[in-house]
């Protein structure tokens, strides 16, 4: 798809194409884009994924209010999609951001081919039905398969298909059956140079990948899953017909959570606390007790960080519902023949090593910095903190300010953050950006 030329010229002050380049279309990027667009600024929002919504759109319910994540994200997503002052490029990345003398920036947006004409596709999925290729569905975190031509997930925005060319066998069936002539294999990578007056980094976080901790057997023992895989199992658009063990489809009745997997752990290079794992685990535990009324849920923790508004009460609610909390550090996990798992852990209260059997283990994985953020800038010009998050150079007074004046940070790109904090941080970034634009580019 081509960018219309009219959008590329003179839509913002100072001869720039846009007032703001927002990188990342998760909840923080959307919030920042909407704030600025509502102030009348022209925003270019670039998202590397096929859909807006970031990580949040994949969550089940969210703590501590237990409202459904989709119910909160999708209205924000559609408001963003429709806003006349926001131009969105999905499946695109940003490179070579460079600051100009007059306070503006140039950058290159690389739009990867979707092999689908976005405005033609109606999301009818006839092609998906016919596609003969099945590969692991990354949006269900590998628990089921998807086709090579596919709608990313049912509440994706835009809700249109994309072709995974790496796994396509080039049979051409999709093109043959498409009623809207939307398939286009001639699409190529497009490089779009843009000039903008400011930049917001809303590039989010990565999830810790627990294969590194071999003692826990993730990958080898199929009934050891990550919290994100459990999150998917708890969503109405879940991969299975209920909460089931990935190994054999058995309904679990004794589930363990291992907190601080990949957080507060020097051995994996991440000594800080991820801020959200305690709470999302307590939330999942409560949802599991609802979905599996006969099940036991045990949370192995070091400290319960229930610090936010309503969190402590939510933690007490979990205790009240019968979630068991064990202060203990899990050392190693073994698999039994029947797929059950033996956890060896140090019981901190009694100071002894114990063993416990569970039939499903959830690793509450932590948050890590997104390593791609720094690479978007020419000459290594963006400063990072000790954990590779975007450095906040004036954290107390200007929390969105980065080492480059005119580049601001929103959401978990600057450190682990829950959803309310990400929204507030995005609000801060939009204010600081608006002031910057006024200071340098208006009048």
């Amino acid at each position: 798809m081509m960018i219309e030329n009219e959008n590329l010229t003179d839509s913002a002050e100072n001869g720039a194409n846009y007032d703001v380049l927002v990188i990342g279309g998760g909840i923080a990027g959307e919030e920042a884009s909407l704030n600025l667009a509502n102030m009348g600024y022209q925003v270019l929002l670039v998202e590397k994924d096929l859909s807006l919504g970031g990580k949040m759109i994949h969550l089940s319910k969210v703590f501590p209010t237990l409202d459904c994540a989709a119910c909160i994200t999708t209205p924000k997503v559609s408001e963003t999609m429709r806003h006349p002052n926001i131009k969105i490029l999905t499946n695109s990345v940003v490179e070579d951001i460079e600051k100009n003398g007059n306070g503006s920036f140039t950058a290159k947006v690389v739009k990867k081919p979707r092999y689908v004409i976005e405005e033609n596709c109606t999301g009818c999925q006839e092609c998906e039905d016919k596609c003969p290729v099945v590969v692991e569905d990354q949006y269900q975190y590998g628990l089921v398969g998807r086709k090579a031509v596919y709608v990313p997930f049912s509440i994706a925005s835009p809700r249109i298909v994309a072709i995974d060319i790496e796994n396509c066998i080039l049979c051409g069936l999709c093109e043959k059956v498409c009623p809207a002539d939307a398939i286009d294999f001639t699409q190529e990578i497009e490089e779009i140079p843009v000039k903008v007056n400011s930049v917001i980094l809303a590039t989010g976080f990565n999830l810790f990948e627990p294969e590194v901790i071999t003692r826990y057997g993730y990958g080898k023992f199929k009934n050891v899953v990550t919290s994100m895989q459990m999150e998917r199992q708890l969503v109405p658009t879940r991969p299975y017909n209920g909460v089931l063990r990935p190994k054999d489809g058995k309904m679990p009745d004794n589930i363990a959570y291992v907190l601080c997997t990949g957080s507060r752990d020097h051995t994996v290079g991440n000594p800080i606390c991820s801020q959200v794992c305690c709470m999302y685990s307590i939330k999942q535990a409560q949802l599991l007790l609802g979905a599996l009324p006969m099940a036991d849920v045990t949370i192995y923790y070091l400290h319960i960080r229930a610090f936010g508004k309503g969190f402590c009460e939510f933690y007490q609610q979990g205790i009240g519902m019968g979630v068991e909390f064990v202060k203990g550090k899990v050392g190693r996990i073994h698999e039994k023949e029947d797929g059950n798992l033996i956890l060896r852990y140090e019981d901190i209260e009694e100071g002894v090593v114990k063993e416990a059997e569970h039939d499903l283990v959830v690793l509450s994985v932590g948050l890590l910095a997104n390593p791609e953020t720094k690479g978007m800038f020419s000459n290594d010009s963006l400063a990072l903190d000790a954990f590779d998050y975007v450095k906040q150079v004036d954290e107390l007074i200007n929390p969105a300010k980065t080492s480059i004046d005119g580049v601001f940070v929103a959401g978990a790109a600057s450190g682990p953050m829950d959803i309310p904090d990400s929204i507030l941080s995005a609000g801060a970034a939009s204010s600081e950006t608006a002031s910057y634009i006024r200071r340098y580019h208006e009048k």
Binding site: L66, C68, C71, S154, I155, V235, P236, T237
Partner: protein
């Protein structure tokens, strides 16, 4: 179960849904090609607490067998009082139904969140079944 009911005698259900919360769930059911009886019709409102008793009674009057309120529940964007006010609408209307000799079980309510496609479909199948039994 559905096949045993003759097409023209299938009970008719009017669903009051909400634009931001339950309507997306009903759409999602269609998207996922989940089937529910085609005798289910939907009218969408801003919030489930805005439904008037007279509309519900009008629906029964005109030949609907059941009315289902796909309520916002705790996800309501207009505030927490939605739950209580919607329940009040239901209980007030059920009182009126009793006075008119209508079985109050013909009015049902459940909270449907924006991705609750499967629960919605199950509600429609079960409600249809219950209504055809009671006839």
């Amino acid at each position: 179960m559905m096949d045993t009911v003759k097409e023209n005698s299938q009970p008719k259900i009017l669903v009051f849904s909400t634009e931001k919360i339950s309507d997306p769930a009903i759409d999602l059911a269609g998207l996922l090609k989940m089937h529910y009886p085609p005798t289910v019709f939907t009218i969408s409102l801003p919030c489930s607490s805005a439904i008037k008793s007279r509309w519900i009674l009008h629906a029964f009057d005109k030949g609907f067998d059941g009315v289902f309120i796909a309520a916002d529940g705790t996800d309501c964007t207009y505030g927490e009082s939605c739950i209580e006010l919607t329940s009040q609408v239901v209980s007030r209307t059920q009182d009126m139904m009793r006075e008119k000799g209508l079985d109050p079980a013909r009015l049902k309510m459940a909270a449907i969140c924006s991705v609750c496609a499967e629960p919605f479909v199950n509600h429609m199948i079960n409600f249809t079944e219950a209504l055809s039994k009671s006839d």
